[in-house]
């Protein structure tokens, strides 16, 4: 099979995914924008004013990177899990499974679709934040690379969830009971320096902490963790999840009987 076939197949999946995201923009783009606006108003404006500065920035400025990356995480994960599981549930995933496309092309296409949604929502949240505060991006390369890699990692995690899911309840369990707590405890709203020593030590086992802080470093230039640790965690998680996804797709787990 020639590379051009793969390229056309990849572009088809990406186009289909982006068309889907834009077709149901009321479900994909608008809700996170509204949720994040509420976060900015309640936590940034009302409560943040009483909290004062954090890490040398106003509280509103401090939470912007966390809220942007949080929306990127939930939306890239959510896009993958809902789109892929929806295709599995509706059986139209068979259109791809019977095609000549190898598993890595299918995976790349869906990951790119999830990445696109993550970036679209991230951009919208960023725009919303500009109504509340002024942001000067300190390290653009770090910001973009952490944003893209984080979206890819959670897209891959969403794929694993979608592969194992057998009913719609199964795609809500991980976001509710794993993703949300880890995100909220990952330093979105605070610096872990504020935590007691024991909880600081516990927090370093939370991978989302590294993503939130890596993105905060890119945007504000401050972070609770080193840049090397950020990239190390993200790249390791990405590589492991990528390998797991390919293994599951190759075995046909949940897809081929």
């Amino acid at each position: 099979m020639s590379g051009n076939i793969y390229w056309v197949g990849y572009r088809t999946i990406v186009r289909k995914e982006i068309t889907r995201i834009l077709r149901i923009w009321g479900q994909t783009i608008v809700p996170p924008a509204i949720t994040m606006t509420l976060y900015f108003i309640i936590f940034g404006e009302l409560i943040g004013r009483r909290i004062g500065d954090m890490g040398g920035f106003s509280y509103m400025q401090y939470i912007v990177p966390g809220l942007v990356i949080m929306s990127v995480i939930t939306n890239s994960y959510g896009n993958m899990v809902s789109s892929f599981f929806g295709a599995k549930f509706g059986k139209h995933i068979e259109e791809l499974l019977i095609s000549p496309l190898p598993n890595w092309v299918i995976l790349a296409g869906y990951v790119t679709g999830a990445l696109a949604r993550g970036l679209m929502v991230g951009a919208v949240v960023m725009l919303v934040s500009l109504f509340f505060t002024r942001i000067e991006i300190q390290q653009p390369l770090v910001l973009v690379s952490v944003l893209v890699l984080t979206a890819v990692v959670f897209a891959l995690a969403g794929m694993v969830n979608a592969i194992f899911a057998q009913k719609f309840d199964d795609i809500a369990i991980i976001p509710t009971f794993v993703l949300a707590p880890l995100t909220y405890l990952g330093g979105v709203f605070y610096s872990i320096a504020l935590l007691p020593e024991f909880w600081q030590k516990v927090s370093v086992f939370n991978p989302i902490l590294y993503m939130v802080n890596g993105f905060r470093r890119g945007m504000l230039g401050v972070s609770d963790v080193s840049l090397a640790a950020t990239y190390g965690v993200i790249l390791t998680a990405g590589a492991l999840l990528f390998a797991w996804c390919l293994y599951l797709l190759h075995r046909g787990t949940g897809l081929r009987s």
Partner: protein, 332 residues
């Protein structure tokens, strides 16, 4: 015992013959046992020649869909080999799949997409550039009388239209092997006949077609070769003419001019009363229908009209399947 070099010559000749004789589909000793222990295929072997119109029949649960699933790579075989135009599905899946178009039994397209998008996207998965995909989508949607629905939501299509959409989607990569798993299930007779016409034209143009259907009339009128599968085993694999020639008894339904109360008796024939104006007569092929009419006439039974009770293939199919059941009972 043959010397080693002789074996090599035989092996080489077999290899050359294999290359010369390219089958559209070769299935060798295919077995599938599901995780729940159900043995769906018990060593199925089958060949389908290029250009053939091949019927794969069997009762519900016989293993047809599992076999089609393995050919189309939706089901992993437990053991055995499947080759499509010489390419192994198990070891070179991508290349093997590039030859196949599949119309599955169940609807499996996104009901929230439009027919044109469904067909064009499918072409994209086969690496067909978008401009060519659009041309082909228009061509096949028009041929299947769906072009006026191309931009409607596919969930709004009727059952027959949805089936035709799956055929258009399967044709967009212009496959060398088209597999139709009960394509006309639940479709009215007019649309069914137009679908037959379309599929026949595709076959005439050189595409190999494998058809499974519960409408045996469909298989009898369309297919040249046939395999019957039951309990995961091929119980018949032959050409349609030879199979039909083995049928030695035919059953006719006779409508009568006057009502009857007593069933007519004729030597060598089996007569049953359906109602007072209708009887059913089963007679060996060797017996002339003239004998039947003459004997009935002698007994004061006058026939108004006559028709075949079922198509011939249906009778054969039922007999083969019943025979298998009887053998099982004896064995147990």
């Amino acid at each position: 015992m043959l010397p080693v070099h002789s074996l090599k010559v035989i092996d080489f000749r077999a290899h050359v013959l294999h290359i010369v004789r390219m089958y559209a589909l070769e299935v060798r000793d295919l077995r599938k046992t599901y995780k729940n222990g159900v043995e769906a295929l018990k060593g199925v072997s089958l060949t389908v020649e290029e250009g053939d119109f091949f019927a794969l029949l069997g009762p519900n649960g016989a293993g047809k869909s599992t076999l089609i699933g393995i050919i189309s790579s939706l089901v992993n075989a437990t053991s055995g080999e499947t080759r499509v135009f010489g390419t192994s599905v198990q070891t070179d899946r991508s290349r093997a799949m590039s030859f196949i178009g599949l119309v599955p039994q169940e609807l499996n397209f996104n009901q929230f997409e439009k027919p044109l998008d469904i067909v064009v996207n499918q072409a994209g998965y086969y690496g067909i550039p978008r401009d060519i995909a659009l041309e082909r989508a228009e061509k096949y949607l028009k041929q299947l009388q769906l072009w006026d629905k191309a931009h409607k939501w596919s969930r709004t299509l009727s059952g027959g239209m949805k089936r035709r959409l799956m055929i258009a989607r399967a044709m967009v990569n212009e496959p060398r092997l088209l597999i139709l798993d009960e394509p006309t299930a639940g479709v009215d007779i007019e649309i069914r006949r137009s679908m037959w016409e379309f599929i026949r034209e595709i076959n005439d143009a050189g595409t190999t077609v494998i058809l499974t259907t519960h409408y045996l009339e469909e298989a009898e009128s369309l297919c040249r070769n046939i395999a019957i599968i039951d309990h995961g085993e091929i119980v018949q694999d032959t050409d349609m003419k030879s199979l039909l020639a083995t049928l030695d008894i035919e059953t006719f339904v006779l409508d009568l001019r006057e009502p009857i109360r007593v069933c007519p008796q004729i030597d060598g024939m089996e007569i049953r009363i359906i109602d007072e104006y209708c009887i059913e007569a089963s007679l060996p092929k060797a017996k002339s229908l003239n004998n039947l009419f003459a004997d009935l006439d002698r007994q004061g039974v006058h026939v108004l009209s006559m028709r075949n009770k079922a198509n011939r293939l249906e009778e054969l199919f039922l007999r083969l399947v019943e025979k298998e059941r009887d053998l099982e009972v004896v064995a147990s």
